[in-house]
Symmetry: C2
Subunit: 666 residues, 2 copies
């Protein structure tokens, strides 16, 4: 019953997404110039994604074969299903988003409400697709393995599926993240700082690459990323639930997931209606979130009431939901309000260096309360429902992902709509409307990141517990030299991973800067607007940089669990346990630090651009652009990828660990 209902809600969500997509595509795209620019962005994004998939699927195939040999061919198929659904989530979401943005621009020529409606419709397609595909894929995997494959444990099956989701997400986040930030940093450094032309100015040769990047990184990358988080939280709950409660657990979990989706659909409809009747944007978005969450809480309570110990599970779920919200609010505080005024102030007083220092300090300071909240969440959910409770808290945090992702994904669409307005020489008023929507998107994005990080911590911890149990260890003792050594090495992996990602951005951005400078220098009439820049060259630099550099960091996640297990033989399970714990701890804090420092620098720059501390063009502004540029790869490349890294490392260890140990330690 639970499975069937969840399946129905999942399919409903997908149907709704398709219906919204059709209604978006029917809309008018505006002037010829707008169409031409939108086409360039759409084609650029498509071209990159296809290249990215080609590189990525080579690794998918290799890894699938490995799973097929070591574990079982069926699990390899579930793994493949995970990769394909993940790819679809990102691809379909982005396909619609690139089409929604130009129509948002056109709608903005009429009214802000109309533009909001289109942009939010586009975002909802992403939100509904990700959650719909997530639950449908997970259900298929679970159902098939239970009904038709007695030789494959459903827990192993869902783990394989989950690894597929994480595998693609990591590549998509890293690849897309490098692409978008190389273009963004390159465009800003020469365009804004040196040439003094505004953002999205069509004279900037990197401008199309920058807009393509927003789509492949912030949209397709985010889609795959949150698909992974969503699937991960379901997987962790299924595994720990089944170990605690037996097979009944899955019914409960899929019911929660299914009704979470239904709540999101209700929320999305509410927000769409609200924007249609011209309620102020901020309110329109809030209405949907509030309705969805209240609806979800009530339904979850009713479902839980009906089963033994259900109230305890309910508490764990609600703890997750509330902790997620609380982290979101803390994130909002540190990336707005006082802290960003402080950063802006240091931009005006000491220039770039003190801007960087104060942003770093804000980012570091901002880690304390979220980690404290996560700790509290762990203790409460554990006290009520044991290890299963921790998984439930993670599930609870993401139960209404459908609505929160819709709000999240709407941001980059509004951002792109603004870019198209600028490049199409539309009136100032249009740009102002899209800017209003864009600014709103930044706030909601900060909230969304809080959820993503909090759930990653809890999900990874739940998966980590499953790993320990699957290795038949009752405890993981910090005092063992193998465990603590693993912890030291594990702690350094997110740092190493981030270093590779940041270096890739920095290097590609360097090439981009050179190319943009060259074009300004060598193409006559470019600055006066008489000649067009060579956009393709810049697109190719971002593409090459991303494809070349996304492999190595991703391999860290895949190789490190094997290395530990194989090198340390019978101590391998302890070492790898420590490795996972270390990576979890440093990964979570680094992700929070990077997300918040990056957002704080970004918003400090925006604060100055609003006319504070001298406004645009002042020394303070120049310094704040440096801060924003430094923050970009932190918050959009390295930071969000770390969440995936720690989960992928854990699920791979969980899947392969018992087999390797069995093979080596006979």
């Amino acid at each position: 019953m639970g499975l069937l209902l969840a399946g129905i809600f999942g399919v409903l969500s997908l149907i709704f997404a398709v219906a919204l997509s059709i209604s978006i595509l029917k809309r008018d795209q505006g002037t010829e110039r707008m169409k031409k620019i939108a086409k360039a962005i759409q084609d650029g994004a498509l071209a990159f994604l296809l290249e990215e998939y080609r590189t990525m699927y080579l690794w998918v195939i290799i890894f699938a074969i490995l799973i097929g040999i070591v574990i079982s061919p069926y699990v390899a198929v579930f793994f493949a299903l995970g990769t394909i659904f993940s790819t679809l989530s990102g691809f379909f979401g982005m396909y619609i988003a690139t089409r929604a943005s130009v129509r948002t621009t056109n709608a903005a020529t009429k009214s802000t409400g109309e533009a909001l409606f289109v942009a939010f419709s586009g975002g909802s397609v992403m939100g509904l697709t990700v959650t719909g595909l997530g639950v449908v894929g997970s259900l298929l995997t679970y159902f098939i393995s239970v009904k038709f494959l007695p030789q494959v444990s459903p827990l192993v099956a869902v783990t394989g599926y989950s690894i597929g989701a994480s595998f693609v997400a990591l590549f998509a986040r890293v690849g897309g993240g490098i692409y978008t930030k190389a273009a963004d940093v390159g465009a800003d450094l020469v365009g804004k700082v040196e040439a003094g032309i505004p953002e999205d100015d069509p004279r900037n040769p990197a401008v199309i690459a920058d807009n393509v990047g927003d789509n492949v990184g912030d949209i397709a990358g985010m889609g795959a990323d949150l698909y992974e988080s969503y699937v991960g939280s379901i997987t962790a709950a299924i595994i720990l639930g089944t170990l605690t409660l037996g097979n009944n657990a899955s019914t409960y979990i899929y019911l929660i997931t299914g009704y979470g989706i239904l709540s999101s659909i209700v929320g999305v409809i509410s927000s769409l209606v609200a924007s249609k009747i011209n309620i102020a944007p901020q309110k329109a978005l809030n209405i949907g979130s509030v309705i969805a969450n209240i609806f979800a809480i009530i339904v979850f309570f009713i479902i839980s009431k009906g089963i033994p110990n259900g109230t305890n599970y309910f508490v764990a779920i609600i703890t997750g939901l509330l902790i997620g919200l609380a982290i979101g609010f803390i994130t909002q505080y540190f990336t707005s309000a006082n802290p960003i005024v402080e950063i802006a102030k240091s931009s005006s007083e000491g220039g770039a260096a003190t801007t960087i220092l104060s942003g770093m300090a804000v980012g570091m300071e901002s880690t304390f309360i979220p980690l404290l909240l996560i700790a509290i969440g762990i203790i409460i959910s554990y006290r009520f429902s044991g290890l299963f409770g921790i998984a439930l808290a993670g599930l609870g945090m993401l139960s209404t992902l459908g609505i929160s992702l819709s709000v999240d994904a709407y941001g980059p669409i509004a951002d792109n709509a603004g870019g198209i307005a600028e490049m199409s020489h539309l009136s100032h008023e249009v740009r102002e409307r899209t800017d209003t929507l864009d600014a709103l998107g930044n706030t909601t994005a900060a909230m969304g990141k809080g959820f993503a990080i909090g759930s990653a911590a809890l999900t990874a911890l739940a998966l980590f517990s499953s790993y320990i149990q699957s290795m038949q260890m009752d405890t993981l003792n910090v005092m063992s030299p193998y465990t603590i050594s693993g912890m030291f090495v594990g702690t350094s992996l997110p740092f190493l991973f981030s270093a590779l990602a940041i270096m890739a951005v920095s290097r590609s951005a360097g090439y981009m800067v050179e190319e943009v400078r060259r074009q300004f220098r060598e193409i006559p009439g470019l600055m006066s607007g008489k000649a067009d820049p060579d956009y393709k060259k810049c697109i190719s630099i971002s593409t090459k940089g991303a494809l070349k550099s996304m492999i190595l960091p991703s391999l860290i996640a895949v190789v490190s669990p094997f290395a530990g297990l194989i090198i340390f033989m019978s101590y391998g399970k302890e070492f790898t346990g420590g490795l996972l714990a270390g990576a979890l701890l440093s990964g979570v804090i680094l992700a929070i630090y990077m997300a918040n420092a990056g957002a704080a620098w970004d918003n400090a720059k925006k604060f100055i651009e609003q006319g504070n501390f001298g406004g645009k063009g002042s020394e303070a502004h120049r310094a704040s652009v440096v801060g924003d540029t430094v923050g970009d790869p932190l918050k959009d490349t390295a930071g969000p990828s770390i969440n995936i890294l720690i989960k992928l490392m854990t699920t791979i260890s969980l899947l392969f660990g018992p087999h390797i140990v069995k093979f080596l330690v006979k």
Copy 2:
């Protein structure tokens, strides 16, 4: 016997330090102007230290009373002894250093070799004082408690003594670090970047504060810091040794420590002779280190041969020594060679933003191998000698601290000598000689930091093991929700601590910048050199900033262990265990990251100043100065303090934990 010998070598080391001091003080200070400037620096440094001590000792007294009430008045006395010896190490070292630097400048008017001799003599005073006082204090504590205080366990006594050392070190590092970097950043930002005057130009109003800062931060701060590390490593070895071997362990440990000091004395003499006979500076310093280490290894082998299982202990010690060296070499690689060329290149290509990004990436990347080495060190030393082996490895790393600190401390003296040469308008040749010595100091400092971090990791781990044992836990299980929650919170403490330290520097530097700008604007004839700036005003800004901001971060170390133990009652020991482990893991990696990123930015700037990528005054140079400025508080304020933070948290938990638990959980 072992104790007696160690005492003799310790006292010998102190006598030698005094003799060297006298020979330094007898030397000529040069021109009147040199004397005047040196006096200003000496007075400024003295004035700040006295203020700092006044603030600090208030907290020392409060904490001593707390120890006296909760633990025992005798332990409070040992704690006080630790604080006093630590203060003396920093104070005496700095007293001589400020006097050695002006004499080094004067010696540099004759020859580089002569200048090296004086500067290295000054450094040796520090090296010999720190190790001499360290071993004498530890011996006194141990001996008195064993012989005269049957009611006080010698292990508790040395823990109290060790907490005293760490307590003062933390304040000195944070306070001195904020002082020196506020002045340095302030002086650089306006002087170098805006006014375009060289470093140490007497027209810069912050120049005296900057030079005072070098002394109170880099010298007095470093002295207290390494005194703490040294005492910590001895303490950890004594505790774990006694728990494993009984009271015989202390004889062995003090023998190792004593002969380590003797080896250092031999090394110092070798280097002094080498510089006297005009061997090239790099070689002269290397000779001492090589001789000391070979001598130590041979003696350690002979000592170890004579006791049961001694060879196993010897392996652990040598593992520590070699791992320390290896970390030093890795540090050297990441802060010179290719990585800094890459950073310099990104300074020239993308400006300040890519400079910051590539430096961050280098810093993050540089953490992997050291942590891997530490992990290997843990496993090897554990396999040979159990937990005691880990403590021995830490002891081994620092056994020849006498010589390595002498080399380390010589750097800032040479740096100051250069400053005095500049301010005294001495010939270009003199400045070039001191610059040669200064550059050499940077390389050796990187090595020294590798040792400090490696030993901190091992010492903290050994102390952490003692904590677990003292709380009568056999294991610390990561799977316990209290442990893992503690780990999450603990992980965030070094970040929070660093945030506070960096913010303090950034804020004080902001005031400094304003003041320097004001003086340039308002004092007529300042730029043309006709009027003197108001140095005192800048000194007062640094002083106030340091004193105000050093309390809060230091309190984190003191309060957090109590909070965890008290809030979580019977689960408090697990939570605090997790807290310590989390802080250890994130503290070590953050310390390495900050030290290496900071040094890499510094050296990238120096590389450009040597004429690469456009040299001084180019855009690339301007960008590299931003990198250097960002790196300053990382490598000299927050980074080195974290080492102390994690050990202080651990020793406080170790001392108070059992009492709190006994009191609360009855």
